[in-house]
Symmetry: C2
Subunit: 379 residues, 2 copies
């Protein structure tokens, strides 16, 4: 692997499988572990790129499916690629549409060749094949591009999981071929393969073998956010993360809560994305060092204290709960914006604290603290 | 007049009645002429206070009527007053509810004593009297507080205008008495009286006499944004602005377009407020040096140029029309936010340019340029 990409482990936890590293990309170095805000349509909802930087965002995720539908990857390419398009100069990761094939299954038909998705914008049928997705992601121009995968509809239904996992492997072969034809890492894009296998440890292990048969710049664990069962997720992560190559970043897709993230870091995961901080921000739920806070609650009406006395967020720390409650009740945009910023800072700071704790050998203490908070978060 | 308030004329236009001054308040000096963004419920929609500063905002306006309904002026007072409540450390002006008594007339009953307004929040009846409004505005704690006035429903219907103007004068007497009882300017709040008189020059002149019989820190011209007739507005401004005291700031309420502002500055006006830049931002209309731009227009889909090549906005200048069009079409909040910021910068910069042009003796050239732009703005 040449080019601008590289991954280095800086610290290892003496008590768990956690590591703190540095992931190099054409748009800068990223300290791991890290959390990626979701910028579905080329924007983290309500947040300017300069504000993302101010709350500690290192990388932004954008959704290929949504950008294919609108404005179209060709338009993004004409406008200079995703970095220039959305005004974000740091690294970007694009997903492949695999999750949407699963989550919008009522609009999808799928076979070995690929999937047809009906556009939610204009009702047209859009083709997603491994090769086509590589072309879409090349036009978007993100630093990290995800292979097209198939998430099983039920991670505990073995025949379904087997079929989806095999198809994911076959699609990865085709993605790798197309990505190499585009120039591979030398062309400035790192392809990550995705491990499937549902809640079955043996299928996860077999999937790790199949996916890591390709020497790629990074690997992801997929299909873990599709079920409700937290235990199934833990099994999936713990049975596959430790088997992934030590010298490559490991990405747990679509996760999660603060506690999910800490548990996964302990199992050796480096990268996360989730809509949790932004979506909860828009419904006025704040993550705090004292648990989850619903800022619409009447009890905050006259409360002069900040959202979280333990927060170091420079953009939101000066506003009172009373003011935020007023904004939320009045349906003022600024309420959702400020809580989104606060929540992003919460997640980024958790990652920074985990990195420090890994270096200091105190990750298990941090985990205990987050478990205590998590009881409130899980309310 | 003691205290932190003061007004000084720094430059006079050699060709018009325009002046450039400095208005001192307890929360800082303001260079005139200036434009106040409207922060109806204690927030300029979608914009953080730090962003207001970054686009050149000096003063923010908030609406007493809306804050009385929600969260209540008592709550704002408990939370430290409007400055701390909304996190804006610069000067603030609150209006009196007089405009809402007019614009929400279907929810209003009015007599010499005051007005009842039905709450749009919970249907309750809320009392607005001159004394009560002074109490509301004291609780809010703005630097500049407006007297309660009555806007005539039709500025060209003489009996209606006469009655509203007389009532405005009687209410001003009561506002002044209550404001003095609260401590006057020494208590940190400057009361401005409001001239009415509709589209009748003689009634405007008589109203100036009645209002300026009180020695107040500033004076406003009201009732000009209620009619559609631009000529009537011009008559109202030109017949009253030059008669207002030279040594006090002059505020034209609820105006307006860029051209309206330039014309009014030429007539001696120093202060403006209007929802134009923010409301147009939310409907994706941008004010530019080349006229009005509708960013939903298909022709901008692949346009890599910024909203306005002539803009110096640091927060929005790096985004392409193509990206903004995408955000607007996808109903992404960020579209409205960025265009709002751009429009605010446009209005503030116009004020800065007028100030420079007044000092340089080139205001009439600037006026010609804005007239040319105005043809597009009036589309």
């Amino acid at each position: 692997m040449g080019s601008a990409f590289g991954f280095r482990v800086d610290h290892r936890c003496p008590h768990t499988g956690a590591r703190a590293g540095t992931f190099s990309t054409p748009h800068g170095e990223i300290k791991t572990p890290f959390f990626m805000p979701v910028g579905t349509r080329g924007t983290v909802k309500g947040v300017r790129p300069a504000e993302l930087s101010a709350v500690g965002t290192q990388v932004v995720l954008a959704n290929t499916y949504h950008l294919v539908l609108r404005p179209g990857t060709e338009t993004v390419r004409k406008l200079g690629g995703l970095h220039r398009f959305m005004g974000w100069e740091g690294p970007i990761l694009t997903d492949s549409g695999g999750y949407q094939i699963f989550s919008l299954s009522h609009l999808t038909s799928i076979d070995d060749e690929g999937a047809w998705l009906k556009s939610v914008v204009d009702g047209s049928d859009v083709r997603f094949t491994p090769e086509g997705v590589m072309d879409f992601e090349r036009d978007l121009g993100a630093d990290v591009i995800m292979a097209l995968d198939q998430c099983p509809t039920d991670p505990e239904a073995r025949p379904d999981v087997e079929q989806a996992t095999e198809r994911t492997h076959a699609w990865l072969d085709r993605c790798v071929a197309r990505w190499r034809a585009h120039g591979g890492v030398e062309a400035g894009q790192a392809l990550f393969g995705i491990v499937q296998g549902g809640a079955f440890p043996d299928l996860r292990r077999a999937s790790v073998d199949a996916v890591t048969a390709h020497d790629l710049p990074g690997y992801a664990i997929g299909g873990v956010s599709v079920g409700e069962a937290r235990d199934a997720m833990r099994v999936a992560v713990e049975s596959s993360a430790p088997l992934l190559p030590e010298d490559k970043p490991r990405y747990l897709m679509g996760i999660g809560t603060p506690l999910d993230c800490v548990e996964a870091v302990c199992a050796g995961i480096d990268m996360f994305d989730c809509v949790t901080p932004t979506r909860h921000g828009r419904t006025h739920q704040a993550f705090t060092s004292e648990g989850r806070v619903n800022l619409r609650n009447r009890k905050y009406a006259d409360d002069p204290s900040p959202i979280d006395p333990g927060s170091d967020c420079k953009l939101t720390g000066s506003f009172s709960k009373g003011y935020l409650r007023h904004l939320c009740k009045a349906d003022e945009m600024l309420g959702a914006i400020l809580i989104t910023l606060h929540n992003l800072r919460f997640f980024h700071r958790l990652m920074e604290e985990m990195r420090e704790a890994i270096a200091a050998g105190t990750l298990l203490e941090l985990r205990e603290r987050v478990i205590a908070q998590g009881r409130s978060h899980a309310e």
